[in-house]
Amino acid sequence: MYKARIEVTLKKKILDPQGKAIESSLRNLGFLKLGGVRTGKNIDMSVNESNIDAAIALVTSACAKLLANPVTEDYECEIFDEAGKQVAQFSSAQGGASKVAAK
């Protein structure tokens, strides 16, 4: 049993009007040193698999099929074990399916 946290953001080259609106509000409030605001969404879920490779494969497939739109969105995913330790991290930028930080 694992837990996965997926962060979905608009691809860098796509305008993020929400991020832009937040940035301009921050500026109006005097936060002049803050910039480059981008927004996204977090999706948390439990992964009922007994080994990490299977968990990665399952989450990757869910990202590709439903959770992120490949035309407009990137995703980053972290997988944690039951003790809450991060055991894998991967992203769509790396082709999606490759496990890069399994420990």
Partner: protein, 751 residues
């Protein structure tokens, strides 16, 4: 859970010492914590109307077309013939919106929609009456943007067109915005569902969303002044889910259509506590409910929390045991919970179980409004400010020199300027029944073609509008309230409709202040007078007290939501001029009543004077004339004179249809001061336009109705020209009128 219950606990929940004694007397013992919680929400102002009910009973609540009287069901029900009835009601969500504007407004819309479809009616329109503080303030901007977005996101996803309403700005609402949501639904007579729990042995079911910890004690929260402590109560605000509400609508109507529902009530304020006690009180039955069977979001919730939860998108349904499977099938089809949680009993007791223990056991009638809930008469005292403000010497105010400038300043008052910025965020067309769209006419029109059986019925339409000039009510509570009713009726008549009935949302300050109670009493008198004269009974509504903060109390704001009927919706009149060379006339008497006008406020920074008075004989003739003239196709447009006076009305007539702007050449009689003539709001006047060939017929009909009329001029050119006093290009007027709100509120557009 056994928390000690004493007077202190009761007071923390908002009950008084006397009320706590009364509860002990009813039960013959000290209540349990859960029981105390249930009494505290049911006896709160929000649920019990304890400080207003005696006054509300004075309102005219009967009429030949009413199928249920005010307060009897979740909303009023008006017979419109053809086997159809209209359910409609307005309700406030002021306090939640002041603290969390987005969810507060969204759940306000959700709650009023449930009130409508719980009666078996399909919602066909929503309206919103909104009031905010000075729009220059950052907090006000935040409240405004998020209230509008909350209404939009909920109504749009649910799929009800938001077709009309009001948006006003005044400093008195700086800390206390008013968010009043109205919904209108249509139901066939034989499909009307009741909110009573009857039939001993019948099953009690909860359908819809799961119950969570959100909104516990929201009803009590709405019965207190807004203070810094309210911010800390933020968890009290509920979260809305319009998608689930849409499913709940479809499933509920399907179940009612299938004849599976004995009784049904939605859950809003005070959740399960309110629906179980009110339904059994109404049915003179008892109810035995096991809370272990309620679908919960968190399994460790106590009886107290489950009873008081205000989780949205839920209903309590009473069904026959033989129908359990059939009703479950329908709700499962729509991916919704439907669980049996108890049964109807014959002992009049609301019995609540949790984890094998009886947590509450109280006579249901002692909880309910109109039954055992307390009723108070409050002290009333005429506020001193009334005479002071009425006596302000308006006559000595200087006359302006540049009238073009005054007209432009009025058009850029946020109270007058176009509200497209607001209503274009609402889907006002979904359902493809909206004939008169927001911004086109003085009231919205929804056609009945898809509902009616007869060919005559198919032509008809519902007409609806909300109104209240709260500055008038502040200056003269009775006359101002009369004015609100009459203006709503006049707006209905301006599109060609006949006013039928009203619902009201009475927004006031703290009723324990005698001056506030005086305003309330007098406003009720005003509504009573106007509704009696116009034969438009009050079908129900809502009272919202405590709209005040340490610094100020809102203007008394009795918002009127009016329903009317038009015989042929294809003949609905719009406000804008439609044809070059048409004649322009104003119907109604000119009156020097400048009190409370937008002109005095905007140009002279003055709130005072004597407000316009209503002449009922004239109004009734006017309404009859407008209906007849519209149905006979005599008129091309009709627009009533309100904020900003006749000059603003004429400007709006020129520019409201942006695709076909038209100018006007006006030569009017200046019998009073020029600024009085141009900007006075009284007299109940209406500007109309018509083809010169129909002039004789128009004036003959006006004469038949004994209506005074002055021919003002002709639709012509590309400017609004009034004598040699005003001359402005329509393009410039349009730019000011439509550009104001977007300019004020637009967040930096991302490009």
């Amino acid at each position: 859970m056994s928390i000690e219950v004493n007077l202190k606990t009761a007071q923390e929940m908002g009950l008084t010492a006397d009320e706590f004694e009364e509860i002990k007397k009813i039960l013959g013992r000290v209540p349990t914590y859960t029981e105390l919680g249930v009494y505290s929400v049911m006896w709160s102002e929000h649920a019990s109307y304890k400080n207003s009910i005696l006054q509300l009973k004075r309102l005219p609540r009967s009429g030949k077309n009413l199928l249920v009287s005010a307060g009897e069901e979740n909303a009023g029900l008006v017979d419109i013939g053809d086997g159809l009835a209209v359910a409609f009601k307005i309700e406030s969500h002021n306090h939640p919106s002041a603290v969390e504007p987005y969810q507060g407004a969204a759940t306000g819309v959700g709650g009023i929609l449930r009130d409508i479809f719980t009666m078996g009616a399909r919602p066909v329109a929503a309206l919103d009456s909104l009031r905010f503080g000075n729009p220059e303030g950052p907090r006000v901007k935040y409240l405004f943007e998020n209230v509008v977005k909350g209404i939009a996101d909920y109504g749009n996803a649910f799929g009800v067109p938001t077709v009309a309403g009001e948006v006003y700005f005044d400093e008195c609402y700086d800390e206390n915005p008013l968010v009043n949501a109205m919904a209108v639904g249509i139901v066939r007579h034989n499909r009307v569902a009741k909110a009573a729990s009857i039939g001993v042995g019948n099953l009690v079911m909860i359908v819809g969303s799961s119950t969570g910890r959100d909104g516990i004690h929201g009803a009590t929260f709405a019965s207190e002044d807004i203070s810094e402590a309210s911010e800390a109560k933020r968890p009290s605000v509920q979260v809305g889910d319009p998608f689930t509400e849409k499913l709940l609508l479809e499933a509920t109507l399907e179940a009612i259509d299938a004849g599976l529902v004995v009784g049904i009530q939605d859950m809003g304020a005070a959740g399960i506590a309110c629906s179980t006690s009110e339904m059994s009180a109404k049915g003179s039955t008892g109810m035995d409910v096991n809370l272990d069977l309620v679908p919960l979001r968190e399994s460790d919730m106590s009886a107290y929390e489950i009873m008081l939860s205000e989780s949205q998108e839920r209903m309590l349904v009473v069904v026959k045991p033989s129908d359990e499977e059939a009703i479950k099938k329908i709700f499962t089809k729509w991916d919704l919970n439907a669980e049996v949680v108890g049964k109807v009993t014959d002992d009049g007791i609301l019995r609540i179980r949790r984890f094998g223990r009886i947590e509450a056991e109280v006579p249901s009638k002692t909880l309910a409004l109109g039954e055992g809930a307390p009723v108070y008469v409050r002290e009333s005292k005429r506020p001193e400010y009334l005479d002071k403000l009425a006596g302000i010497d308006i006559a000595s105010l200087p006359e302006p020199s540049d009238y073009n400038d005054v007209l432009k300043r009025l058009l850029s008052s946020p109270n007058i300027a176009a509200k497209n910025y607001v209503f274009e965020q609402y889907d006002y067309m979904v359902g493809t029944n909206t004939v008169v769209l927001p911004g086109q006419g003085d009231a919205a029109v929804i056609r009945l073609e898809r509902w009616a059986a007869s060919s005559k019925g198919k032509k008809r339409g519902l007409v609806m509008k909300t109104d209240c000039n709260s500055r008038y009510v502040y200056l003269e509570p009775m006359a101002g309230a009369e004015h609100a009713v009459v203006e709503a009726a006049r707006n209905i008549a301006c599109v060609g409709g006949k006013p039928l009935a009203i619902t009201n949302c009475l927004n006031f300050g703290n009723p324990y202040k005698p001056e506030v109670y005086y305003q309330f009493e007098r406003a009720i008198e005003g509504i009573t007078k106007a509704c009696t004269e116009l034969e438009t009974p009050v079908t129900g509504g809502n009272v919202s007290f405590y709209n005040e903060s340490p610094n100020r109390t809102v203007y008394p704001t009795p918002v009127i939501g009016m329903l009317g009927l038009i015989e042929d919706s294809a003949k609905s009149l719009r406000a804008n001029f439609t044809r070059e060379n048409d004649l322009i006339a104003v119907i109604g008497p000119e009156r020097p009543e400048m009190g409370g006008s937008e002109y005095l406020k905007v140009v002279h920074d003055t709130v005072g004077g004597v407000v316009p008075k209503v002449d009922y004989a004239y109004e009734k003739s006017l309404h009859a004339f407008l209906q007849e003239a519209a149905m006979n196709g005599l008129l091309h447009s009709a627009h009533d004179v309100s904020e900003g006076g006749i000059a603003v009305t004429l400007a709006e007539c020129c520019i409201l249809d942006r695709d076909a702007k038209l100018g006007a050449k006006i030569a009017m009689d200046f019998s009073m001061r020029r600024d009085w003539t141009l900007f006075a709001e009284g007299g109940g006047r209406v500007v109309v336009s018509y083809h010169p060939d129909r002039s004789e017929e128009v004036h003959a009909l006006l004469k038949a109705y004994h209506l005074p009329v002055e021919i003002l001029g002709v639709v012509s050119g590309d400017a609004l020209q009034i004598n040699d006093t005003i001359a402005v290009k329509v393009e410039e007027l349009e730019g000011i009128y439509f550009g104001l709100l977007p300019g004020k509120f637009r967040i930096t557009a991302a490009v």
